[in-house]
């Protein structure tokens, strides 16, 4: 359950940023999570309520933008969508690839009052 560490990391970022902006609380938080980031969304949602209790995020709406995985084949330069880390290039079947996107794990924005 490393999602708990992740959720608490999100809370810390929100607390820090809200304090810097002298905001009372956060009304909305936007997260960007890539499908290859290693985060299980069900687990994150499961522990979310307990992680945000008594914090600036307690009443915040949570919006998660899911970022698809994209890779580029090192052997033939084909760009393709990746759902799993071991997906081969659909053109030449090579497993050698660079990951272009999908590893994101970011707090994109906060709406505060």
């Amino acid at each position: 359950m490393h999602e708990l560490s992740i959720a608490l990391g999100i809370v810390k970022i929100a607390e820090d940023e809200a304090a810097k902006a002298k905001a009372e609380r956060v009304t909305k938080i936007e997260l960007e999570i890539g499908v290859l980031s290693g985060i299980e969304l069900d687990s994150l949602n499961f522990i979310w309520e307990s992680a945000i209790k008594d914090t600036v995020l307690e009443f915040a709406e949570k919006e998660i933008v899911i970022i698809k995985g994209k890779g580029k084949c090192i052997d033939c330069d084909t760009e393709f969508e990746i759902e799993k880390l071991f997906d081969p290039c659909p053109y030449c079947n090579s497993y050698f690839k660079g990951i272009l996107q999908g590893k994101e794990l970011r707090v994109k924005a906060l709406e505060v009052i």
Binding site: A21, L85, F86
Partner: protein, 283 residues
């Protein structure tokens, strides 16, 4: 709640201790470290903070409602401290390895054998990560190797701040090899860089051929894959080539060693690699 280790309460934080030492909590020190990070964090983001102020000015009709575009990586704290560890290791010419695997793959046995066989040639230091007990640290201490145990409590992985504290306490000498045995868990530790030079994933022949694709993140982020317990191959229905095939699908750059830490079979290849890499990192 502790924001770094994910532990339930303040009293439940990681405990860092040496074998034979009175077991006491370092929760306070750990949390002290947190506030230190906060300090860094504020410095690092002073620019974007200004920007946000401008941004909010342009939307003044919005009353008190402001949007802060922060674009911050959630793992940033861990990565900053990992970078600090890495700089420390580089300055002191310490070759650091992060050993990861599911529980029971033989990490500690592999470590014991390696330390016993090579300790005359290489100065070793060990950090042991487990949720509970000093058992592993005691096994290493029995070999006269300096060791620190990190008990993560409810935490399922080591993070870079724990390693930072442990390394300081361990007082690692220059030109040595630091072995960090992570918490036995094939999922969570994959996301947390500790500042190591190389990550080593250990899988045993009793675990099932398709483990690399069931738990791809760990194999994707590792440099070396040690297949342990090959002495059991006659008794288990497993083909080592299939393990490698699956692992290479996830990470085509993985280098393999097939060993039995119990009988010593195949350990030489791993030792040669260790000695060679230690020299390479000396530059």
């Amino acid at each position: 709640m502790c924001g770094t280790c994910g532990c339930g309460t303040e009293n439940n934080g990681p405990i860092i201790s040496k074998p034979g030492e009175k077991n006491h909590s370092h929760g306070d020190q750990h949390h002290g470290e947190h506030s230190h990070d906060e300090h860094h964090h504020h410095n690092g983001h002073s620019h974007s903070h200004e920007e946000h102020h401008n941004h909010s000015h342009t939307h003044e009709h919005d009353h008190n409602h402001k949007v802060l575009e922060i674009e911050q990586d959630i793992l940033q704290n861990n990565q900053l401290l990992a970078a600090r560890n890495r700089g420390y290791f580089e300055a002191k010419n310490i070759f650091a390895l992060n050993l990861v695997s599911s529980p029971g793959s033989g990490k500690t046995t592999l470590l014991e054998r390696t330390l016993a066989d090579l300790k005359a040639e290489i100065p070793f230091y060990v950090i042991e990560g487990d949720q509970q007990t000093l058992n592993d640290a005691n096994r290493i201490a029995a070999l006269d190797i300096p060791v620190i145990q990190i008990n993560t409590g409810k935490g399922c992985h080591l993070e870079s701040d724990m390693v930072y504290d442990a390394v300081k306490k361990l007082n690692v000498k220059d030109n040595s090899v630091l072995m960090i045995e992570n918490v036995g868990n094939l999922v969570c530790p994959s996301m947390f860089d500790l500042g190591e030079n190389k990550r080593i994933v250990i899988i045993s022949t009793t675990e099932g051929e398709d483990k690399p694709i069931k738990y791809p993140d760990m194999f994707y982020t590792s440099d070396i894959c040690i297949i342990n317990k090959i002495d059991l191959l006659p008794y288990v229905n497993i083909n080592v080539e299939n393990i490698k095939k699956y692992a290479l699908q996830v990470n085509p750059k993985l280098v393999f060693f097939e060993v039995s830490a119990t009988t010593g079979e195949g350990m030489d290849g791993w030792y040669q690699w260790l000695k060679k890499l230690k020299l390479e990192y000396k530059n």
